[in-house]
Symmetry: C2
Subunit: 410 residues, 2 copies
């Protein structure tokens, strides 16, 4: 946790990954993020992975450092409370983060009647409001057809990382700060819409892939674990460890050649082909079959530890293949030796290694990440502090089951 | 292009994907982004994919809307120019975006001597400065071992999307605006460091995967194209089209059951198992084998078009599998019907569908995306406007080959 965004308040009505991760990033830089949910939890409240007791490790991972209020959003009174919360006054307030439908009581048009300078950041599936999630976006832009070994033929391979969700969440946090910066200058609020489908399409454009396919008239082939356009592939060591080795820059390539002692073989290949692999990563890609064979032979002749030492001494860009469980066991980056992480007790009852902000700010003090709230943990405090309700009014809302505290889902 | 960040100036010295994409996002919201490069281009200047003439479609995709100055960074005079550019005065200036080494003449410590309130946003591989790229990070956190069909055994599958680069780039843009917001309040600059490895590790923590693996003591298995923890998989239609179908929410699931007319089969399975699939996506995942069989049978009995109509009428979350080439041919989201896109003429000599900002800002006018500069296209203008050099001084720099214009690489 940092305090860079201290003073800013964001109200979040959201589910799944993209919008909650945006709120998480804001909270971990010091914004006050108030998440409202249905009493009993929204559609993502029990999402897998779960702890043995059934608590969602996913939910408590994506909602760290936020405050929680539980409201019956199916009741008119509950909806009014949500609107009042979103539109509450104050200079750094009036920011609504959501992935809920663009029409209805949480439409920007309606909400901005209560607060004209409201900023609404709306994460969407498709721009027209039809549903989409990471997997359905990914299949529709051609990534699964490029992923995996060519031996799979036509069989697509979905990547399991919710990459489009994560990109969208981070980009949404950026867009939200841009809109807030603009409001500081102009006083004007606005709705910002970020459909997953536009993030995916724009990203493929930014990476040159739309141009590539448009100009060539063909799709990029499936290259398995070969890094497109440069040298890079997985290789097995003599003691059976698998490494990813990449050489994008000249320095990485010459370092690899030196570390493996394959200069003579490479020179012979260069002489035969009448070119040099030093300067042009594209040439390394075109000649990947003979180059892979040379590197594979050299890697297979040595053990992991010797290779690791030689690689690091020569500035080689490489990484081990290992599972997350192995990474947790052996990599200091996944430990409290890394200031990003701390051991934190969570609502699930479990204590585990927990990340704060992925960025390290030299100008600020990093304090440990804060656990997610229990659902409704801050209901009364938010009603009192943000909406100025009296304890009698709050008690009446509980009696009418318009709101609930943490005990309701404990 | 939007003008939200108009007035802000960012100097970028960068290569590859993460840092340049951060600069791209800033430029597409109106910031002035000045990219400096070695004369002849940095290590990413010719990166694949390339146009038939050899121009990098990748470089011109990631540097849209930026200005370019070409400097001989190996000469002391060229280095001085770069430092002067980074440290140039002005209220919304003094922001440096880079992935260059943290030590040396572009260290924050040295640069901030010229401008104490400088903000340096430094994208890194590992936090200790050792090199890493998307592929070597990904192999080390266990994603390739979870990706792809279980039939592949131990063979890892790298995902081809540079997901960690893209997440890091967007998160960097967010962190940069947070640091700039903080500077506006306090007057203080700082260095912000964002290692790819920390972004990956933190993301897996946020998604609950570190908790899952820590608590269970085991890695998540390889589930092929099944969506972990919910219902989701690829299915083949009668006419041989492949669809991704997902049901995370109750509404998506009941919509799918209705659209496929499989209520009786599902009810029979529910009766047999003594549970309901409506409310709990985790139950749908646990019973994925019989559920997949029922859905596969119903999808295989119908043609794509009929299914698409039924799915859309019932709010089903689905997407086609198609290649990028097919998407460009058939999806209006990849066309100028989508305001994110415009046809743009590029330095490569090609005109193609080009994305602007993935976010749509309701409060601002969207103007078409601006092409990338030719290398050195703005050298003279930047030297004159930012550094106040006379035309005589600029000519002398050219004569001494300290700088170059666009003609040098044309």
């Amino acid at each position: 946790m940092y305090q860079l965004l201290g003073g800013m308040r964001v109200v979040e009505g959201s589910s799944f990954i993209a919008a909650p991760s945006c709120g998480l990033y804001l909270a971990q830089l010091g914004a006050e993020v108030i998440r409202f949910d249905m009493i009993g939890g929204g559609p993502d409240f029990n999402r897998w992975p779960q702890a043995p007791g059934g608590a969602s490790l996913y939910w408590e991972g994506l909602n760290k450092g936020k405050k929680s209020i539980a409201i019956d959003l199916s009741s008119p009174e509950g909806r009014e409370l949500a609107v009042a919360l979103i539109a509450a006054p104050g200079e750094e307030r009036g920011i609504f983060l959501t992935n809920f439908p663009a029409a209805g009581f949480l439409s920007h048009e309606r909400l901005s009647k209560s607060r004209p300078d409201l900023i609404t950041l709306r994460v969407m599936g498709h721009a027209d409001g039809t549903p989409a999630v990471d997997y359905t976006i990914n299949s529709a832009v051609g990534i699964p057809q490029m992923t995996g070994p060519a031996t799979l033929g036509e069989e697509p391979v979905n990547h399991v990382l919710p990459a489009w969700d994560l990109v969208t969440g981070a980009y949404a946090a950026f867009a939200l700060l841009a809109a807030e910066r603009c409001r500081r200058g102009t006083g004007r609020g606005q709705e910002v819409r970020i459909p997953l489908s536009d993030v995916a399409a724009a990203s493929l454009g930014h990476l040159g892939q739309i141009a590539e396919t448009s100009i060539s008239g063909a799709d990029r082939a499936r290259y398995g674990n070969n890094l497109f356009g440069a040298f890079g592939k997985d290789f097995l060591t003599r003691d059976g460890r698998r490494l990813m080795i990449v050489a994008i820059t000249t320095r990485q390539w010459t370092g690899l050649v030196a570390a493996l002692g394959i200069a003579a073989q490479i020179k012979a290949l260069e002489a035969q082909a009448g070119l040099s692999f030093d300067r042009d990563e594209g040439t390394r890609f075109r000649f990947r079959e003979p180059l892979n064979a040379i590197v594979a032979g050299a890697v297979a002749a040595r053990d992991h530890d010797a290779l690791a030492r030689a690689f690091d001494a020569n500035g080689v860009c490489w990484g081990p293949y290992r599972t997350l469980h192995q990474a947790l066991a052996e990599d200091a980056a996944f430990s409290t030796a890394n200031p990003v992480f701390a051991m934190v007790d969570h609502p699930s009852g479990h204590s585990y290694l927990t990340p704060g902000a992925a960025a390290t700010f030299g100008g600020g003090e990093r304090s440990p990440p804060v656990r997610a709230p229990r659902l409704g943990e801050h209901t009364d405090a938010i009603l009192a502090e943000v909406l100025g309700l009296s304890s009698g009014q709050i008690a009446a809302l509980h009696d009418r089951k318009v709101v609930a505290g943490a005990e309701a889902t404990a």
